[in-house]
């Protein structure tokens, strides 16, 4: 937006606020409404926190308000169990996201920057996979993983998730690579750089924020998957967080203090990741690269 436009906008705002008066600038009721939505969304978490500090008798007497003494040791108990799940989730989602970014950026570079016979056909072959719902491949994938002898290993989750995750990541990266000026790559070629150097030294460093968005969306997807790990992993010690929390909650169902503490502890790692990456994520999502 040019400076002139911003100027008129400021002017417009100022005259408006003078008309309506300082106290009724019109923002307060919007803030109240938005605040209500936020509070409504967070209320279950607050409830979980209050309950997480109770023993069974405390919960029976006074389920929702705070009861003293506060039993922080519930978190200690939950931590021991959740820690194992967390370790598994980090390994699985971590390896998956590295694989996805590597494969997706390579193929996005080929489709977006390079010219070769069959580019269109191959691209539509990948595009068609967007229409195949995961429900359709669930059963055959399960049989495949079983036949490959991958049951009860991390690979049962990592390999299929790399395959399915790279499709979407490739799309957003390709759109982004295509928007980069072609002259950059031409200049590098004239200077004698190979395509691999163009990929590694030019395309990747320029697309850090897009790689970040692709990474976070991928991690969210694998982190939240309940059904597939439930099917392929029977050993408790290998369960990732989502099915782990589910099993934990089923096991300790009536000990509400412990289950709530576990659910809250399990929420923390992604929140931490997000605090460090939210700027990228928000910028990437609102940059207009994601559209029909």
């Amino acid at each position: 937006m040019s400076a002139a436009v911003r100027g008129t906008r400021e002017q417009y705002r100022r005259t408006r606020s003078e008309q309506v008066g300082v106290f009724l600038r019109g923002d307060w009721w919007r803030i109240v409404l938005l605040g209500l939505f936020l509070v409504g969304g967070i209320a279950p978490l607050v409830m979980a926190f209050l309950i997480s500090l109770k023993t069974i008798p405390q919960f029976a007497r006074q389920p929702f308000a705070l009861t003293f003494p506060l039993h922080w040791e519930n978190y200690g108990f939950a931590f021991e169990i959740v820690l194992e799940f967390l370790k598994n989730s980090m390994i699985i989602s971590g390896v998956t996201v590295v694989g996805v970014l590597l494969l997706a950026s390579l193929s996005a570079y080929a489709f977006g920057i390079l010219e070769f016979p069959g580019r269109q056909v191959l691209f539509y072959l990948v595009l068609s996979l967007m229409m195949v719902p995961s429900a359709m491949t669930l059963i055959p994938s399960f049989v495949l993983v079983k036949d490959l002898g991958l049951m009860n290993t991390y690979w049962a989750m990592i390999l299929p998730w790399i395959a399915s995750g790279q499709v979407f990541a490739m799309f957003i990266l390709r759109t982004f690579f295509e928007s980069l000026p072609k002259e950059l790559f031409d200049a590098a070629r004239i200077d004698g750089a190979s395509e691999w150097q163009g990929y590694w030294r030019i395309a990747l460093p320029l697309s850090k924020s897009m790689l970040g968005v692709a990474a976070i969306l991928n991690i969210l997807g694998t982190w939240n998957n309940l059904i597939w790990p439930y099917l392929t992993v029977q050993k408790q010690a290998l369960l990732p967080l989502t099915p782990g929390l589910w099993a934990y909650q089923t096991e300790y169902f009536t000990r509400y203090g412990l289950t709530m503490a576990g659910l809250l502890l399990g929420s923390i790692p992604l929140v931490i990741l997000f605090v460090f990456t939210s700027r990228w994520f928000v910028a990437g999502l609102t940059s207009g690269a994601i559209k029909v």
Binding site: D27, L122, L129, I139, A163
Partner: protein
Amino acid sequence: MAVKEMPALSNTASQAVDIQERRKPLGRRIYEGRVAYTMLAPTFVFLLVFMYYPALLGLYRSVYKWAPGLSADFVGLGNFIQLFTKDRVFLNSMDHMLQLAAWYVVSTVGVSLFIAVLIHRLRGGRTQYTFRLGMILPVVIPAIVPLMLWKFIYDVKVGPLNAILIWAGLEDWTRAWLSDPNVALYAVMLRNFPWVDGVAILILLAGLQAIPYEIVESAMIDGATEMRRFWSIELPLIAGQIKLISVLTIMWGVQEFTAVFAMTQGGPINSTMVPGMWMFFNAFRINKMGYASAIGVVLFLLTLVLTMINLKYITTEEY
């Protein structure tokens, strides 16, 4: 404006190169594309093994009566005929799925649009940023956590929903929300109140912010009210984003069964059964893998039809 002419120039240049390229024999061009093929190779290895093969196998197995380890019997379209003529549970599950998907679209678009417009109209840049962050933050809570919390909220004995109703003097309204076949589907549907969807809000907000301010300003000068500004200017201009969110939500809603799986497993007496859950049940509880594959194929065809409709009617509009 000199910049504008540059692409035009290089365009004709690249066309000339293109014609030269096309004169080369195909074998030579393929050889020159070897770097590209090498870059694509790992992707396609993964896709072949873990995407194409299972997808084709799913299609193939849907015409068999089949359980792993046993010999498969070819039944033609028998599985599909049974699904649509004899299987009451499946037909009801399709009905439930449509109700759920319709609600997901209405609530996601409606609530997200309302919130996005509210945030867009905020005058303070800092409050705008704060609320934007506040709305997106819950996205990173693992999806299983709200599901489990809402299962607890609906609990008949200790759940806060019944407690609130009793406190408000509405004792007759209390019930076992997830175990009463009459209300279980709606309980699953209405979970996660107030249905804030951070990603949808961000996408809509990006659309609103991309509208050139001159358009809004000229309308305001002509005396348009806030409501008029929304209905006549902003809504038509973010139609693309609204369509995108609707399409993504419908596609997701057709195959989604994690919520049902975690909260009710399709019960009580199949009152919350959705096709995905019914497929899971057939495949992994009673070992009717061929029959379950047929359900998967039905879901695939449904997605395909929806994609076709959306490719036909949805175009991105620029202004």
